[in-house]
Amino acid sequence: MAIPRFWREIDSRYNLVGTRCGNCGDIDFPPRSVCPKCGRKSLGKMERLQLSGHGTVVSYTVVHDAPSGFEAIRPYSLAIIELEEGARLTSQVIDCDPAEIGIGMPVEAVFRKLGEEGESGIIHYGYKFRPSGKAPPMEGQD
């Protein structure tokens, strides 16, 4: 991914910053500039919101046939996670045996390396999740 395209989303990738619609109260992650439910009524009312990083597993898989850039870490666990605020995201689940992962399992966000742009390119950092209670949760900076 090109540097500007990654840089633009750094707040959310590093610190789990989402948005709350000032009209209906729905919470979105990643941030949206328009609420899909409210449309025009939400314009200018999308508030930044620091998410806690605590959530539960909605579904999970273990990827063995990896896309480019992920070959070195395969197999790896992937999950759709519902955050306690209600928004959902997709993330790797780390620091545990894939067999430990189950639907409904509590997880927490941690800051990790996601990948890099070739051998001498920039390194991408962002969130991954791990089973809750393994260490103190990620501190937000907002």
Binding site: Y60, T61, H64, D65, A66, P67, Y76, I80, H124
Partner: protein, 387 residues
């Protein structure tokens, strides 16, 4: 609205790992289609062309439709590429359907073409992911197998869907493909082979996945009142519908269903004045086996959660409640992205005219449905056809 557009010709190249490039594949599909018009058609009667393609690999990203049509002698007509992920040629069909409905045109070509197998593997992996959510899914390491695996895990959790049900989709569709000389895979497989194949994304193995295929498909459409001058057995389009959804799977309300399919199907049945039980056969989007099971439910053929049971009980086979993917489906006939949707209609055209190979002909089929999905469900098209 229903039945005002007819298909008078349909043809396709073989789907598979082929030596030919897009020009040759397109020509094979076009001329087979032209030759299938019973009373003949002068290519100069084709007024406009709608060509579905992803331009996989970026070989001919721009001006693809002009290139494809000039290769077969269709010069100086308006031609455009229609791109909508894996549902590209189903949307080309829908656009052509609108054009004929408008009364501005009488005869049009709908086609699809994709060349996928001649890229280096890292480029191929990149292109296979381009219809996913790049910033928030792919960056986490998703693949399409991974996304469908997430749907499968949740479906198994909520409805008790068995691993064997998924595998049975592959077994059934390989069996039908073995009777389809145009199919990518020509051999039946056993349930154990699916279960024991290399893992792509748990619980899906290599045999739960469609292959990467080359291929092209073509249809000739006319306004219904003109159809009989081309053939005594046209196939009528009774409904055309589509729906989009959130691109990222995690943004959808319930990942055990595809809302785009639910919505598009409802609209299609409304247009056609038909209920799901009146459909004799369906070509549905089984890029991954769980996709067929969920679509059986979302299209209303069975109740929610029963797709796996129906599959294991043989209710989706020829002679069952509804014959599903008699061509072999994407799973075994192959999935050359842009050619897939129009390719589903090629099967419908043959089935409704009783021209399919005997071992997979649905006897007396009168109503057929096609279901084509882009990506993990962000784009869906549903069409209903009748004799």
């Amino acid at each position: 609205m229903a039945g005002e557009v007819a298909i008078v010709g349909a043809g396709q190249s073989r789907f598979g790992v082929l030596k030919e490039g897009i020009k040759s594949l397109f020509a094979q599909a076009f001329f087979e289609c032209l030759d299938s018009v019973d009373k003949g058609m002068d290519p100069r009667q084709v007024q406009e062309a709608f060509v579905g393609s992803m331009s996989f690999g970026g070989g001919q990203l721009g001006n693809l439709a002009a290139l494809m049509t000039e290769q077969v002698g269709l010069t100086h007509i308006p031609a455009r590429k229609v791109e909508n992920a894996c549902a590209s040629s189903s949307y080309a069909l829908r656009d052509a359907w609108f054009a004929l409905h408008s009364g501005m045109l009488d005869v049009v070509l709908v086609a699809g073409v994709e060349k996928m197998t001649d890229l280096p593997s890292d480029r191929r992996r990149y292109w296979l992911g381009v219809s996913g959510d790049t910033e928030w899914e792919r960056l986490a390491g998703t693949t399409f197998a991974g996304l469908y695996a997430l749907m499968a895990s949740r479906h198994m959790h909520e409805y008790g869907t068995k691993r064997e049900s998924l595998a049975q989709v592959a077994v059934k569709n390989h069996r039908y493909a073995s009777h389809n000389p145009k199919a990518h895979f020509q051999r039946p497989i056993k349930l154990e082979q699916v279960l024991e194949a290399p893992m792509l994304a748990q619980p899906l193995t290599l045999y739960d996945s469609c292959p990467v295929s080359d291929g092209a498909s073509a249809l000739l459409l006319t306004r219904a009142e003109l159809a009989k001058s081309f053939t005594d057995s046209p196939v009528y389009i009774q409904a055309s519908s589509g729906a989009s959804d959130f691109l990222a799977l995690h943004d959808r309300e319930d990942i055990t269903r595809v809302d785009g399919t639910v919505k598009a199907a409802k609209e299609a049945y409304r247009q056609a004045h038909l209920s799901p039980g009146e459909v004799d056969m369906a070509e549905i989007h089984d890029a991954f086996t769980i996709g067929e099971i969920m679509a059986l439910e979302d299209l209303g053929f069975c109740s929610k959660g029963q797709g796996g049971v129906w599959t294991l009980e043989g209710r989706t086979e020829i002679g069952g409640d509804i014959a599903v993917n008699t061509s072999g489906g994407l799973k075994a006939k192959g999935h050359p992205l842009g050619a897939t949707g129009a390719g589903q209609v090629v099967e419908v055209f043959k089935q409704l005219r009783s021209e399919a190979e005997k071992a997979r002909q649905v006897s007396g089929a009168e109503v057929a449905l096609t279901h084509n999905v882009g990506g993990s469900g962000a784009t869906v098209a549903v069409h209903i056809f009748s004799r």
